[in-house]
Amino acid sequence: MAPRVTAATTEPSSEGQSTPPIHRRINPELVPGLMVLVCAIVLIAASKLMNPGAGFTQELAAVLGTSIFLVVASFGQGLTILLGGIDLSIGVVIGIAAMMISVLTDGRDATLPWAVPVTLAVGAAIGVVNGVGIALAKVPPFIMTLASGITFYGAGLGFTSGLAQEPVAPALERLMNGHWFGVPIPIFLIIAFVIAATVFQNGTSVGRKLYAIGSSPGAARVLGLPIGGLTVLAYTLSGLCAAIAGLFLAGYSSAATLDMGGPLLLPTIAAVVIGGASVMGGRGIYLGTFAGALFLSALETIITVLSLSQGLRDIIEGAIIVGALLAQGERWNWFRR
């Protein structure tokens, strides 16, 4: 890469252009996602073998339906990781949002028009606090989000005792458990969300700037990109996505607890990492994260079908993250070559 005693037209030689080998024609950003997606499909097929009663499409629908929390929350996590940061408050925000929606609605659909915006605003506000602390006070992201998460968890505990007594609005339950044309409604929601998220991250000027800032903060500073504002935006969106996931989770399980989001935190990071994003920032696409989320949900389903213990589940998840990070260093580079 270092320039030598050579002329300008040195590097990619012209013969490489005529017919690139197959692995060059695929966008290298997509490779990790595609591989993970294949793994997910294999897993779903395997779970069908273990549970022969259900058909493949039913199995697929079940996995997709329960993956929605992870799909939504890991988008926010992905944005913060894209900036080279991380959001460790996601689990708490999910729990707070789930609690809030059940306390505020108290089983009545009529309250939803104001209860939903209020809940989402609270999630976004926690994200704003994170973003401001990181962008203006220069607190390292993992400390800032971990501390704010613990603080808000404590606040939630002070107000509620940690378990919602009130039932969730039935409309939300119907949304999460209902069907349109025989297809679970969450699948429609996922499709809409994935399209919106991909367009935002890879199809807008804001998304491009996020990539730029995560890639080279120094160059972004020299160029005068709005680093502070976009950092706040990323963490705000992360809080908002976590709140949306919390709403869905409350509707799905029809009873909310403050720590119901905790088990989702590690998988959001795992989904982003195995989807091919760089933990240093600047690299990764949402479709990869989406594939990662599907894979983890399929894995979850298998573990449930096999009725393995929670401990084993955590071991597998941790091993997958480390394995994905190791693979990032070597395998993906091989594809880029």
Binding site: P3, V5, A7, Y211, G218, R221, V222, L223, L225
Partner: protein
Amino acid sequence: MATAFQELSLVPTMSVALNLFLPRPAVRFAVLVARRRLEREAKTLLAEYGITEIDPAAPVADLPLGQRQRLEIVRAMFRRPRLLLLDEPTAALSDRDWLFALIARVLAEGTSVLYISHKLDEIRRLCSRCIILRNGSKVLDRAVADMSDDEIFRNMAGRSAVERFLATPSSVRMEVPPAMRAANLIGEGVDDISFSLQPGEILGVAGLEGHGQSRLFKSLVGLQPLRSGRIEVSGTQRALRSPRAARAAGIILVPEERKSEGIFKDLTTIANISLPAIERASPGYLLSRRRERMLVRRVTAEVDLPEQYLPLGVTALSGGNQQKAVLGRALMAGARCLLLFDPTRGVDVGAKQSIYRVMRDFVEGGGAILFYSTELDELVHLCDRCLVLYRNRVVGDVHRAALTQEQILSLAAGHDPGATRTTLVKA
């Protein structure tokens, strides 16, 4: 065998002493590194190589680029290798004689030196035999004395005659207000600097490393605060407190460290260039790749960047092409006043020609350039006027007609400027 790399291989967060002994620090008592002793040894070692101004306890990140380069060279040399590999060792070095004396010394000790450089005078001065590489293959291997300059250039560039510099009449426009006027700028490392830059002018800045040029350039775009002073842009006073404010005023910095401050390493070349104009390429926030390509094509032609590189990741490009992309981005940002900080550092001959041409075209179109370079011949041939800095102050303002390398050097070294000195301009 030991190597001094062009892309420096020092660990920025570790101290000078630790970096010097990096692969094998002297280990005593268990595995603890005796820091104090290490620093003492480093100090004597550095002094042996004629370096006294570097504090061995300072983290490498705090050193200016030139000192880091010296450190890199010393680190390669003190192990007394049988083969010493120097990769563009003078790229960030302003005091080349220091290096040349050291090379003479190791040669006398029986070390072989492989010296990679694109500077002809260095090759002539140091080398007995010379190998020319082009496109990754050897095109020439001959004794240096048997080759003419023209022959060397022809083989390096692969074209018949390289016009070394484009000697065109200056295009300074005196009748309009200055593109940039700085009056009594004072800040950290900037000591009462004033200058005036007309549209169409290339104003050079010369100075030995660490004499305030880097901080001056950073201050002008708000990367570093100024305590006092005025900056006028096209006749109106502007407060340039951030690079964004500077960009809005049409002032763009092409920074010193291309790797960390110039390029966005994970983005494609096209995305690197289009970034300042990304809003124009995305009506209603939605990015249109077609518009982006159209916008970028306009500037890639201006900076001689072949279009086939656009979809590639920018790190796949050579240093020269990366620099063209950074320049293209500056043009894309609508620059009316370019601040170029050593834009030809670590850049091959062909790309240098392109950069010179871009500079000429830019000023002919009414732009203004403030241009710092470690290579004095560039300053002499390209500038309409040249400021010389010494200890963070302007000690000379030399006109094109009177500009010679010797004069710049003597001013920059703090010597009495002598009879040829032109008048100091009081802005």
